[in-house]
């Protein structure tokens, strides 16, 4: 067994499962968004906010945000462990990535429940 403390779930199996699950969530969210935009060609601000005022849409969107965060972390963590061989550079890049993901996630939640 190869130990690793910076991967998402510390286990290759759980990371792999999470990567698949989040991909499915993102695919469904994307299809929904594209379909919604196509079916509402004259979309205005009021219809758009009405959509995001509904609890189910907020839950759906939050699920998609969390999926992006997990998906991005697992994917980029893999890239850093493949290509960044200097521990200093790798840990630095991983810290930056996790920080950016955290900021985007909190920011996304604020937009969903704000305004």
């Amino acid at each position: 067994m190869v130990t690793n403390i910076t991967s998402f779930g510390r286990s290759g199996l759980s990371d792999w499962l999470m990567q698949r699950f989040s991909a499915v969530v993102l695919a469904i969210y994307t299809v929904f968004m594209v379909a919604y935009l196509l079916l509402n060609p004259n979309l205005d601000y009021y219809a758009w906010t009405a959509l995001f005022d509904q609890t189910w849409m907020r839950i759906f969107s939050l699920l998609a945000f969390i999926s992006v965060a997990a998906h991005a972390w697992i994917g980029l963590w893999t890239v850093t462990t493949d290509y960044l061989k200097s521990t200093f550079v790798r840990v630095g890049a991983q810290s930056l990535i996790i920080l950016a993901i955290f900021v985007y996630l909190v920011w996304g939640i604020q937009i969903l429940w704000g305004a």
Binding site: M1, V2, N4, S11, G12, L13, W16, T78, T81, D82
Partner: protein, 236 residues
């Protein structure tokens, strides 16, 4: 018939400061010989040329090399299969340290093989006769046991190039599944526990370079998929 143009990787760490490509003209008399035969003709021109070979019939796995960009066994690869425009470029297996010319250090490859414990483990009392298998159970080992450990697959796998110390690689994983699938082996859960980390199995990205080059026609990607299924079944 013009001579075959061969360009081959040369490196002798005792005398060369860096590897270089050497050009050879080889007269094959127009015959469609194997790449290994061409290597022997080159060795007649330059006896210092180093490469490994033994069985010269695709059984021992010692002459895996990169021929015009694709890994394979020189002894069973006819020129007609690889030569393009009368040119042949020969390089050692990619990603492993070069000892000299075409001879590579297979240490990491064997270390990963050793890691998966490539032997039958069974802690039940030894029967008076051999441990029996049904024909169906035996069938599960087909496509697994035939591997000759030539390393053509693992050295064509980018995941193995980047992490040869952590990712078991297609050859090792094919053998790992050979023992996971064996009805006589009782160490299944210990074997699975050793593989569930993010590197050993899960660094495989499924691009199937391994399948494309295996001279024995084996399918490591399928075996890796089966290991994943076993891990999933075991842990959920």
């Amino acid at each position: 018939m013009s001579n075959l143009q061969v360009s081959i990787y040369r490196y002798n760490p005792e005398t060369d400061s860096a590897p270089y490509m050497q050009e050879f003209q080889v007269d094959t008399k127009g015959r469609d010989v194997m790449v290994l035969d061409v290597l022997h003709m080159m060795k007649e021109q330059d006896s210092g040329l180093a490469f490994r070979r033994s069985c010269r019939e695709g059984v021992c796995g010692s002459d895996g090399m990169n021929m015009n960009g694709k890994n394979g066994l020189a002894c069973i690869t006819p020129l007609s299969e690889v030569v393009k425009g009368n040119k042949l470029t020969l390089r050692p297996l990619p990603g492993l340290p070069v000892i000299r010319d075409m001879v590579v250090d297979m240490g990491l490859f064997y270390k990963q093989y050793e890691r998966i414990q490539p032997y039958l483990q069974n802690d039940t009392p030894v029967p008076a006769i051999e441990r029996l298998q049904s024909p169906e159970e035996r069938d599960k080992l087909d496509g697994l046991y035939e591997c000759i450990l030539c390393a053509c697959c693992s050295t064509s796998c980018p995941s193995f190039w980047w992490n040869p110390d952590k990712f078991v690689g297609p050859a090792g994983l094919l053998q790992s599944y050979r023992f996971l699938a064996d009805s006589r082996d009782t160490a299944t859960s210990e074997r699975l526990t050793d593989l569930e980390d993010p590197f050993s199995v899960f660094r495989c990205r499924g691009i199937m370079n391994c399948v494309a080059v295996c001279p024995k026609g084996l399918n490591p990607t399928r075996a890796i998929g089966k290991i994943r299924e076993m891990l999933l079944a075991d842990a959920t």
